[in-house]
Amino acid sequence: MKKKLDSNFEKEVREAQLFQNRRQFLSSLSIGIGSVALGALLIPDLFSGKPGSQEEFEKALPHFAPKAKRVIYLFQSGGVSQLESFDHKPRLREMMGQDLPASIRGNQRLTGMTAGQAKFPLVGSYFDFAQYGQSRAWVSSLFPYMAKVVDDLCIIRSMHTDAINHDPAITFFQTGSQQGSRASMGAWLSYGLGSENQNLPGFCVLVSKGKGNGQGVYSKLWTNGFLDSVHQGVQFMGGPDPVLYLNNPEGTDKMSRRKLLDKLAELNSMQYETFGDPEITAKVQQYEMAYRMQTSVPEVTDLSKEPDHIIKMYGSECLVPGTYAANCLLARKLSENGVRFVQLYHQGWDQHGGLPSEMALQAKDVDQASAALITDLKQRGLLDETLVIWGGEFGRTNYCQGGLTVDNYGRDHHPRCFSIWMAGGGIKPGIVYGETDELGYNIVKNPVHVHDFHATILHTLGIDHEKLTYKHLGRRYRLTDVAGNVVKDILA
């Protein structure tokens, strides 16, 4: 009996070692790739005797001199209407109530929410547009603060996506695939470039909710997917405990926590030597990171020392934890402290009905703080090296969903064209890129697909999107899958 157990155990160990040869080799490439630094995190000699290719991968990144070091992505979840924000279509007002010509709609599939509509009455923006700045870009009256910083923005009016519903569309934007299980953009960057500041996660997530109709956002959007779990996004909450389970349990002080971690690391390294499972080292790294975060997080999340004029700039809501404004201010602080990728989500942009009233509330939530973030980064000299992105997962239809009255209408999801903006690191300021037809249904010039968008972002960070790969399930994966072109025209 004992003999049998022994031989079983032996077999297990042998299999684990075989497993190690293949998977662990790849995994050791991922740990600390692009950052010479991460090695220092590891327990000494944990990787002794491992293939030297890790070095080669490290040396290869970034592929060229990056313009941007960090990204702040202000994701407007729900699908902001381009027709009430940045894509000015006066013709729609003139044709108010007229049916959308079938020739323009083409073979565009519709959502179940409007597919049954007998008519597709065009509806113009309830809000007036005006031109601003040197770039003379059109901005609607909903975004007076953004209008003031328009010369720092690159407005892309020709975004398009494959998905037509929220979950696949957001997942597509975040991970490059409509189905889940791939790594999200922040995780890819953490994998490719490592963390700048080893005392904070390389990928932080901040969620806020507006007053408009919207859907939830789920942690699958900031998943590490097939990448090592160290690259997963860490959510910062509003409230007294911004990162859950970070503080020591009651009765444990810093010294005993340190001792505990050291002993635990010893045990883990023994376990690692036996089984070679890379998740064990990932776990050790996470413990160490969490330990250091006990000091760094309170320092970063403390907004009480921000001067009064900063509070005024972001709006006094920025002191209310969990609001969009507070998250913008926190995003600036995280970014300033070297967090590679700060992902914000603001929910509530899904205006199927009651668009004029709901969108006004949503815009009020985000306008001042988004513009303040640009101004604040700029005056700190950080905008040059920080890429800020603002936009949703798709646009909204040029025709009305449901009843159409002078001051009330709704718009359905529209994947064929929508507007976003980027600002800062590596992107030309003060330009408007791409064009849609006069009814705002199809793109007529310079289309930018989601894959192109990803390729461009990676480019500004010094990464060739075709070279940042990870082998999983027998093939190499990229954020841009097998597509994507860098939009050179918008690069500074």
Binding site: E196, K312, S316, V320, G353, K378, Q379, N408, A492
Partner: protein, 716 residues
Amino acid sequence: MTLKNSHFNILLGLNSFIVFFLIFEEKIEVPVFLQVIGRMHPLLLHFPIVLLIISWLIFLFRNRLEKEVPTIKSIINTLFFISSLLTAITVIMGLMLSKEGGFEGSSYDWHKYGGVFLSILSLGLLGYLRFRKNKDYHPVFVVGINITVILLLMVGHFGAALTHGEDFISSPLISKESKALDVENAMVFEDAVLPIFQAKCMGCHNSNKPKGGLILSDSTAILKGGKNGKLFIAGNPMNSLMIERLLLDIENQHRMPPKGKPQLTIDEIALLRAWVKSGGKFNVPLAAFSEQDTLFQSAKSVYGFQGTENYEFAAADEDEIKKLITPYRIIHPLEAGSPALDVNFYGKDFFKSQSLSEILPIAEQVVSLNLSGMPINKEDIQTLGKFKNLGTLNLNNTKLSNENVQSLSAIASLKNISLIGTQVNKSGLEKLAKMPNLRKLYVWNTAVKLDELDAIRKAFPKLRVDAGIKFDEHQKLALTVPKISPARSFFQKEMLLSLSHPVSGVQLRYTLDGSNPDSITASIYKSPIRIQKDARLRVKAIKEGWLPSNEVSQDFYAAFIIPNKVNLESKPNRLYKARKEQSFFDLESGGNNHADGKWLGFQGNDLSASMFFDTPIKLNFLALSIKQEYNQHIYPPQYIEVWGGTDTSNMKLLNKVTVDLEKADKMRKKRMVTFNLPDLKVSVIRLKTKHYAKIPEGFAGTGNPPWLFVDEIVLK
């Protein structure tokens, strides 16, 4: 080989044809098939060059070679004949090629007549070889063959100048320095426009080869234009010949550069367009344009300004770098393979006195250093002086004082300095501004005053000083709304309400009687408010220098009576069960989210609940707290009935309330539907709702069955 008459005659014939061709050049038309042969000129010409040089080399060493190869003279004859023959054929081809047109200028003339002369000279030398009496070579022949080789090299050189441009060979030596523009000193024409002409246009439009009469090498010639007129109309790119030609379809015969030649990039065309639009001037500095200007932007795209620096120092030892990295001191190369390093410090509690000096072994390689927020001292600032290649320095929010600034100005290589939140003032700034390479200085939130900056900006026009936005002190913004806690609206005997606001120094004005919380008569919040009866709390935040916040209000209900038993007769939706019947009297309010476990949701069936009392009781008031959110199809019921009696089999209708539908834009998210009950003792009451079968016309979700959400029942 012995040269025969026939050899000489062939050559004589070919050379006669050449002379004939030259004389009647103007009148000769070259047929198309011969043009093809003409175009092989650049291909064939390499043969006579090589052969002639070989025969010359053999000729030079003939005496030494003759001992081993007795037939050396015959070999010289053969080689010389073949090379003369090929020379003549090459010249004929060249003449045919020249008939295609497009070749003008001095290089062309030198090449053409030099080539003809070379062929005739070869003929003469061959004649000497054929007809000489003496076995030795006459000194005139020796001179002649040397002249031939020299002539050959000259002709070859002029030919190369025609096809590749004047400075083709020497150009790598001439323009060795990096392409990137120096933003401050670059001139628009000389440094941005002319290089495009040189690279993409002047192969054909130079003074030697002015195709179409156009020369692009200098301002006078450019303004003159070509045979089709002026090159551009200043300020009007879309009507300018040059821009038109650049934008024509690639297949169009007027397209420039023509198909097959190196094309201009989009950015280069954009640059030329922007230059024409700006007036096409020749002596304007790039710095005269704003950063947003298309000209500036496209110049940046074409040439690049930053990041293209070549670092000449050697890379530091990798192991050395690794040793210096800690979680609080991160060192990265600027890009893969670059020796230049970027160093960032984090965690002010971990910054020790030796933290900075420890990296001195790699000081040479550090080009960018971030000490933002670190507790650096005087010694550290002196240490900074040892980083001789430092370009970017971030000292934001450090204790840098004016006295320390002097040590910074010793780092001549510094280009960008960030001093946000430091004690630096005007005099410190002036010291820094004098630094030779400094381009950007960030001084927001320092002791430097905005009006002091103007003088510095004027004195140092190359330096960009960013002092942040000018915040208008008088601009008033609205305060955010105050927060009321607890969030629940129901209490049994009494309740303590507290108010809070994130901005310090705010005054909170409130009323409890439903009146407007103005800034004069309304109570000022100091400590938690105790309420013992129904109340409507209305609050506003007020602070000097700010606009008052929007009002927030919350209703509070005293639920004095709790039944002994509650029975829920209808089934709530399985997703929104809350705590079933217990939810009605738990004093908990539902929140904004109807799925928070505090709301009971019904769809398709009506709500029916009975409340039992052990001892008969007199009730005069009942209220039902419901949610309204039309977009989510959450509506009030059509009407509500309250029945009561001594037991469930003995009940009568006490009251019935028809609930109006509030307009979508006036909709309250929470609503209390209230009943007054007749003066009657009851042991049981039953509440029944009747829903709309379908959402009425004109409301969100028309035609669908509505939802009802209830969180509490209040009895008095």
